[in-house]
């Protein structure tokens, strides 16, 4: 630029580094002169900045990526969400309140989640919806859920968007097994498990929006299960449905004021190899617990909160000396007294263990969070602070998460009534379908798909005792072994010409000491 008559606008205040040091021509930001090929030295600050840019943009980004990848998304209670958390990624552990509903446009779906401190609606994109459907993870009311999502907070309604299907963990709410005749419209909105033999499958007429109808029958009656093409396509072994024994998880609904059982996913229909065991009749405590189970998720993990002794105390072990301490107590519920209407009294539960009893109290907000509410006869474990009232210890429960059902089988009801035991040889084909009690010695077990068979021998003969895992508690199965003396209650059945006894659901086998 030295030959120019006058400097161009702004050039009078520019650095000489914009020109080639050898030929003087303008080169700008390049480091090699395009005219004479000489190197154009730049000042150190500029060189440093260029290198810093490259390093930060590459290595810095990589380090940031590693930082993000190994970061645990924090669990946040819905009640603690603040507007400043908008766009934040959080983990929510709670319970699905409503079945996931696909949008009419088919562009996704949504469901509501609550965790005891608040509620939120969660949106799922179409691709995520398809992935969840394929793996039978579409959230349903009552399911326990653990997922990561990003928050969208507005004054009106806050919502979350599911971030990843892989980070969604769903535990299905247990659907109580119900006999077909016992299904009523009073169960509307709940999920139940039914089993029986398929009488027929009626596809809808072509170009019709009507659903498939699967007629199913058990020993109590018949019902029809409805589902649409999408669910039908998901059913495994759909060609073998007719005449097969099936078990299905269905939602009880109504259509035009009539009972309708809807299959939510084809993966919820299971074709059985064997006819299913009969559904047992429940005690009041069991019915109450089962009813709550249909609505709520299984009991939660107790590991949150302050640490307490791993083992729980018996009722009699709680004393006034422990005042102020946090303890965990196990006992049977004798009585439950809710607060009188219009008052601010707490709930009062009497826990008993043999001769000892302990008063447990908690407020209404604690009660709201309790998954399975205490009912008389049920064995419960509760954690709280020991207080002294009129020189007697009582337990004050501060968190509903610390109230856990242990066993809903009434202590007074023996598992097996040995007095009713009959000789094995007295059981005949004519007794098929009836319940008998037997006692004897177990032989070598044979594994079944979903169960185990023990030959049971008494003085008069041997009969196969079939125990299905789905209806016999694990602790019962665990107590049985070859050589054990047991008593068992079972339904007389036949398999390949041989008589057998199918243990009835529940604590229907016990070791005789």
């Amino acid at each position: 630029m030295t030959e120019m008559k006058e400097a161009l606008p702004g050039h009078e205040t520019q650095s000489h580094e914009m020109n080639c040091p050898k030929c003087g021509r303008f080169v700008g930001a390049v480091t090699k002169c395009p005219y004479c090929g000489s190197k154009v030295e730049k000042r150190m600050s500029l060189i440093g900045l260029r290198w810093a840019a490259i390093l930060l943009a590459t290595i810095g980004l990589f380090l940031l990526f590693l930082m993000a990848k190994h970061r645990d998304v924090p669990v946040v209670m819905l009640g603690n969400i603040q507007p400043t958390m908008n766009f934040g990624q959080i983990r929510v552990i709670g319970q699905v309140e409503t079945d996931a509903r696909p949008f009419r446009t088919g562009t996704g779906m949504s469901f509501n989640v609550s965790d005891g401190t608040g509620k939120i609606i969660v949106f799922v994109s179409k691709k995520q919806m398809d992935a969840l459907t394929e793996s039978n993870l579409v959230p349903k009311a009552g399911d326990a859920i653990d997922f990561v999502g990003s928050l969208n907070i507005s004054d009106e309604q806050s919502s979350m968007r599911l971030l990843s299907v892989k980070e969604l963990h769903l535990t299905r709410a247990p659907a109580a097994a119900v006999r077909l005749a016992d299904v009523t419209t009073a169960m509307k909105g709940t999920a139940i498990t039914i089993a029986g033999k398929v009488l027929d499958v009626f596809p809808p007429p072509a170009d019709s929006k009507r659903p498939y109808a699967l007629k199913i029958k058990d020993d109590s009656g018949e019902q029809t299960i409805n589902f649409w093409q999408a669910e039908y396509d998901q059913i495994a072994d759909k060609d073998m449905l007719n005449g097969a024994w099936v078990r299905a998880r269905v939602e009880v609904s109504t259509y035009q004021n009539k009972l309708q059982l809807k299959l939510g996913s084809g993966l919820d229909l299971e074709v059985l190899e064997e006819p299913p065991a009969a559904v047992e009749t429940k005690t009041p405590a069991q019915k109450a617990a089962a009813a709550y189970r249909q609505e709520t998720a299984p009991p939660r993990d107790f590991s949150r909160g302050r640490s307490v002794p791993a083992t729980s105390l018996s009722v009699g072990a709680v004393t006034v000396d422990q005042a102020g301490q946090t303890v965990r107590v196990r006992g049977r519920v004798e009585s439950v007294s809710p607060p009188q209407e219009g008052t601010r009294q707490p709930y009062a539960v009497m826990l008993a263990d043999g001769e000892a009893s302990l008063r447990v109290s908690y407020w209404s907000n604690v009660n709201e969070v309790i998954t399975v509410k205490p009912t008389p006869g049920a064995l419960f474990e509760m954690e709280g602070v020991v207080e002294v009232y009129r020189d007697k210890p009582q337990l004050k429960v501060q968190s509903g998460y610390k109230v856990r059902l242990v066993d809903d089988t009434p202590a007074s009801a023996p598992a097996v009534d040995i007095t009713q035991a009959v000789a094995v040889s007295s059981i005949a084909l004519a007794d098929k379908g009836q319940v008998r009690v037997v006692r004897g010695t177990l032989g070598a077990p044979r594994a079944l798909r979903g169960g185990v068979v023990y030959p049971l021998t008494d003085e008069t003969g041997t009969i196969d005792l079939v125990l299905w895992e789905s209806i016999i508690p694990g602790e019962v199965l665990g107590a049985l072994e070859e050589g054990a003396q047991i008593a068992a209650t079972g339904e007389v059945g036949e398999y390949e010409g041989q008589l057998q006894l199918k243990a009835v659901p529940g604590y229907s086998a016990m070791v005789i000491p």
């Binding site: 205040t13 908008n86 299907v165």
Partner: protein
């Protein structure tokens, strides 16, 4: 006090405050509004709770004031160092020609014209026509972003390859700058994926998740380049007239209105992208129209996006300001809409009138103080702000963003490519395969 006076005083206060703050380099109005939102939330259930008819017009005034006056530092406090940078921005051309005053005032005229256009043309038509377009475009926003990305990447012009014989050397010389642009875009996109999926910023201040990255991509490089710049500011000659006429204003409104409107309406599209698209669409040659159009575009982008939240029947949230308001308040019908329009009109007038005196103040300031020192102070303020809101993690993110944001300036590509931080991840999410990509990356 009657609602009229409350609104009038609130909007005036907000406008004056942001007009002064707009002269500070590197500070974005959304950062200040973010701090205000925190304050409003903190006071919410106390005796000092701020009612909506105070904070709504005040925030409107803030956005208008900033949209109008942030031209001042952008034009007057940034001297292009031709030994370091490949391109000179249009506003900088005016500064280097000693016409910085003229450049800022022309932009301000554009802003005022934009205000007229927004309040008198767009606002009456918006409730009638925007819901229609919303319904038609429902489900199609994703590919709109994709074609914007496609055009952005395909339309960049090689800066080199102008000399020498044909062959691979010439091709590489040309493509060096384009490759820098592509690298910027994809690195920024990667940064966006990280921040939108697994942001290291604490969830408690997640509403400012992206702020450190944007500060790093745009504000910090600007400060750094000023600090090391070897160029000085030429003597400025404040002009007595702007040599513009109605035709120039009309064509600027046409060009800038289109760009700002695209940016305001479509999600994630910012003013820079909208301006690029409109510039290509309207093919204006006159530099005055270009500069003025930028003023129009900027105004319509920031203020128009904010206004969309209040359009009755639309329920559209665009821009950081609207997102912040949405956390505090849900607009309810025409009353709120008219209040906002009135606030925009008043704030536009106040901020325009403040333009000339503030420009002269800043000109005197840069005459007296070295702009490098000013940029150093601005950088310090920015760093303090980032650390205060998002902690050291946020500062690290800002540093990474700085590296990426420096690439286009130092290696000859468009700064627009840095917008890949939002464009790429959000386009992928909208199309439904964002989770596939984050799965590959191990972020989900």
């Amino acid at each position: 006090m009657s609602p009229f006076w409350i609104v009038l005083l609130s909007v005036s206060a907000g406008t004056v405050l942001s007009s002064v703050l707009a002269c500070l380099p590197g500070l974005h109005v959304y950062n200040v509004m973010g701090a205000m939102v925190l304050g409003i939330l903190a006071l919410e259930e106390t005796a000092f709770a701020i009612p909506s008819d105070v904070f709504l017009p005040a925030m409107t005034g803030m956005i208008v004031g900033w949209a109008m006056l942030n031209t001042i530092p952008a034009v007057l406090l940034g001297t292009p160092d031709e030994s370091a940078m490949f391109t000179v921005l249009p506003g900088q051309k005016y500064l280097m020609a000693g016409r910085g005053f003229e450049g800022t005032m022309i932009t301000a005229v554009g802003g005022l014209a934009g205000a007229f256009f927004l309040v008198c043309v767009v606002a009456p038509c918006a409730p009638r026509y925007l819901p229609v377009s919303q319904q038609v475009l429902k489900g199609h926003m994703h590919w709109v972003l994709w074609i914007i990305i496609t055009f952005m990447l395909m339309s960049e012009w090689p800066k080199g390859g102008n000399r020498g014989v044909a062959g691979w050397a010439k091709f590489y010389d040309a493509w060096k700058t384009l490759l820098a642009g592509l690298a910027t875009f994809f690195l920024a996109g990667m940064l966006g994926f990280i921040l939108l999926t697994r942001s290291p910023v604490s969830h408690e201040v997640a509403f400012q998740n992206i702020m450190p990255a944007f500060v790093g991509l745009f504000a910090i490089p600007w400060c750094l380049l000023n600090m090391i710049s070897a160029a000085d500011v030429p003597k400025q000659k404040p002009a007595k007239s702007l040599a513009i006429n109605g035709d120039v204003i009309l064509r600027s409104v046409w060009s800038g209105g289109l760009g700002g409107g695209i940016a305001a309406y479509f999600p994630i599209v910012t003013g820079g992208v909208g301006g690029m698209l409109a510039g290509h669409a309207t093919a204006q040659r006159d530099e005055r129209i270009f500069i003025m159009g930028q003023g129009v575009s900027k105004f319509i982008y920031y203020v128009g996006a904010f206004m969309l939240l209040f359009v009755p029947g639309l329920n559209l949230t665009r821009g950081g300001g609207a997102w912040m308001i949405k956390a505090l308040y849900t607009p309810a019908g025409k009353t709120d809409y008219y209040m906002i329009l009135g606030s925009i009109a008043v704030a536009s007038a106040i901020s325009y009138l403040m333009m000339e005196p503030l420009t002269r103040v800043v000109l005197r300031f840069i005459d007296r103080y070295n702009y490098r020192h000013v940029s150093t102070v601005a950088l310090a303020i920015i760093i303090v702000m980032v650390v205060a809101v998002t902690g050291w993690t946020g500062l690290f993110i800002a540093l990474v963003g700085t590296g990426i944001g420096l690439l286009p300036v130092l290696f000859g590509s468009r700064r627009l490519n840095s917008l890949g931080i939002l464009l790429l991840p959000i386009a992928c999410n909208m199309s439904g395969f964002g989770e596939v990509i984050t799965g590959w990356l191990g972020l989900t």
